[in-house]
Symmetry: C2
Subunit: 368 residues, 2 copies
């Protein structure tokens, strides 16, 4: 058997959050009583208009979709006031990322990833044959522009900036992103999967209009409530658009996903309710959790579980039917951080009770 | 702006068949009266059980699917009696192909593509930075094993064999595939998208069980009636499976696509009806079309439009509301070939009438 590329052999598999079926089976819990706060899904569910559109489109499941999701790209261009020739789609933000990177990255190239970060940037960099170069965010997780720029070399092709950052939740200021974009020739990929939930934060969309090296990635998995449909989109400079389309997977989005996305974009009411619910519950949860919580502009919170380990807290929650995300699988995060998706008010109350009980049991255990 | 990789700049965009909306707009024809025989979709439509499953699953559109479509992979493993650890899924056969190739191909590598062939093999090879090496099938479009083996070098990583071949429709004998697999170290990718429609043809699945360098690709877009849902699958040797999973896009299949595929696999009755309808109509059409037709084991026919050009025939059909596929966009096919999807009996009758009229008008034009 021929061998895989060296850079691929070095990749560690992507670790996803546990799903309801897995936890139900492992812990012998009824699926219906399980609360999943691990994958940053929309706590209000999908737009009812999107559900209806899926049901309508089902009868044409045997017909290919448009090759490049043109009707969805047009609707996105209209919604965000961007030219159609800058709007791309893919199978989730991951799909957009993969497609763009394979147009540009090759063996010998480098990407810069400020940590902590979403792990897929590193995986895609490696399977394009390039080398990920890491730098650290500051202790409050804000972007250290100097630390980023120090890592830039002639080989740097991409710099990843996530805002709000995953898994830390904090926004990256538009001034910091601008400073990076101005200083480099590389493409600055601004991952705004969670930007909808931010209070008063400016999107990097204005920078994408101004600079020819700024790409903004978005998704319909979060505020738009369609994680199950795998729909990502991005705004990319016109010269890069042509290259993206050449390497894009034909028919990357299913016919039903396109129909769902079009309907969701037409339901601004559901979108606004999703965003305002998250903002309200974020304030509530932040004030009531019995561990240190970091300021968040996303639909999740980062929690420091000290003096307990993240693994202990996550597994104790799982026994109680609540799934959280242990951040130990994020490079450089150590074993004290847990990421919590903001749920409905009832789900959040249940989480607060569970975490209080876990904390008290542990403290009592230490005192005995 | 930084430049895309040289190999990407050389790629020509993938050309898909025209869709109903495009033709309706261009020719001012009512969408409902258009017959699309251009994309080899299932003429009976989707399984009613799959349609129902899509409608049921719609309410969970906000929840991520399983990261690796494990429940679908298990159902496929059962249906085809293959070990789970050899079954992979992707967004269509294209998705499976992309994922496998990016685990193995890098700059300097080569792939061998016998022509005529599906154009995406070449595109994926190029965006992985490798070089496609072409050889010719014989004049009857059968595989010329010696011509393939002559092209093998130390750099050859993949050999593509499509059976039935697209766009020619003929099966490749299992003995020929075996001869190639035995002679090379490269991975032989056997694309069996259309194998279900073949009469008495042996699948290369037995070879995949026997050889550690044979991969069989399949799709739910054809006989399983789910082209709109983007579901491909493949059977790959166990050593390659691990590498595939490392570079696979997380959540490559949507939740609704997984639900549809599971339901379709449970509807063997619809599958069998689809296959037998195609076989019967293939015999009927082959006997009644007024141009030379090549023997086909697929759900399409290759037609030689001589003395007319393919472009003329395709555009005349389009004016009559029938969409066919001009093979001029297939490398090395020239301008005399058209690919025709086998439709329902009524659609086929309409096609026969249209082609007879086009032929007669052209012959009369020449005589005048």
């Amino acid at each position: 058997m021929i061998k895989a590329r060296r850079s691929v052999r070095e990749i560690k598999e992507y670790v996803a959050g546990k799903n309801v079926e897995e936890v139900a089976a492992s812990y012998g819990i009824d699926e219906r009583s399980i609360v999943k706060l691990a994958s940053n899904e929309n706590c209000l569910g999908p737009s009812p208009m999107a559900v209806e559109a899926i049901r309508e489109a089902a009868r044409d499941a045997h017909v290919y979709p448009s090759v490049d999701a043109i009707e969805l790209r047009q609707a996105i261009a209209d919604r965000y006031s961007m030219p159609l020739g800058t709007v791309v789609c893919g199978a989730g933000m991951d799909g957009v990322l993969e497609t763009l990177l394979r147009a540009y990255l090759e063996s010998g190239d480098e990407t810069i990833i400020p940590l902590p970060a979403f792990s897929y940037y590193e995986i895609v960099t490696r399977f394009c044959g390039a080398t990920p170069v890491f730098c650290e965010r500051r202790s409050d997780f804000s972007l250290d522009v100097d630390a980023v720029l120090e890592k830039v070399t002639g080989k740097t092709k991409f710099i990843f900036i996530t805002s709000p950052n995953n898994p830390t939740g904090n926004i990256t200021s538009i001034e910091d992103i601008r400073a990076v974009a101005e200083a480099v020739e590389a493409i600055v990929f601004v991952d705004e999967a969670y930007i909808d939930f931010a209070e008063d934060a400016k999107s990097a969309l204005d920078l994408a209009r101004e600079f020819d090296n700024v790409v903004v990635g978005r998704t319909m998995s979060k505020a738009w409530g369609l994680a199950g449909m795998r729909i990502g989109f991005g705004f990319i400079p016109e010269p890069a658009f042509k290259e993206y389309m050449k390497v894009a997977t034909p028919f990357a989005l299913s016919r039903i996903s396109i129909a769902a996305a079009l309907a969701a974009l037409g339901d601004e009411d559901h979108y606004r309710r999703s965003v305002s619910t998250v903002r309200g519950e974020r304030r509530f949860l932040t004030g009531h959790l019995p561990f240190k919580i970091f300021p968040s502009d996303a639909n999740f919170l980062l929690m420091d579980t000290s003096p307990l380990t993240s693994g202990h807290v996550v597994s104790e929650c799982m026994k109680r039917g609540i799934i959280l995300r242990d951040c130990a699988s994020f490079r450089g995060m150590g074993d004290r951080y847990v990421r919590i998706t903001i749920g409905t008010h009832d789900q959040n109350l249940r989480l607060i009770d569970a975490l209080k009980a876990i904390r008290e049991t542990a403290v009592r255990g230490t005192e005995e």
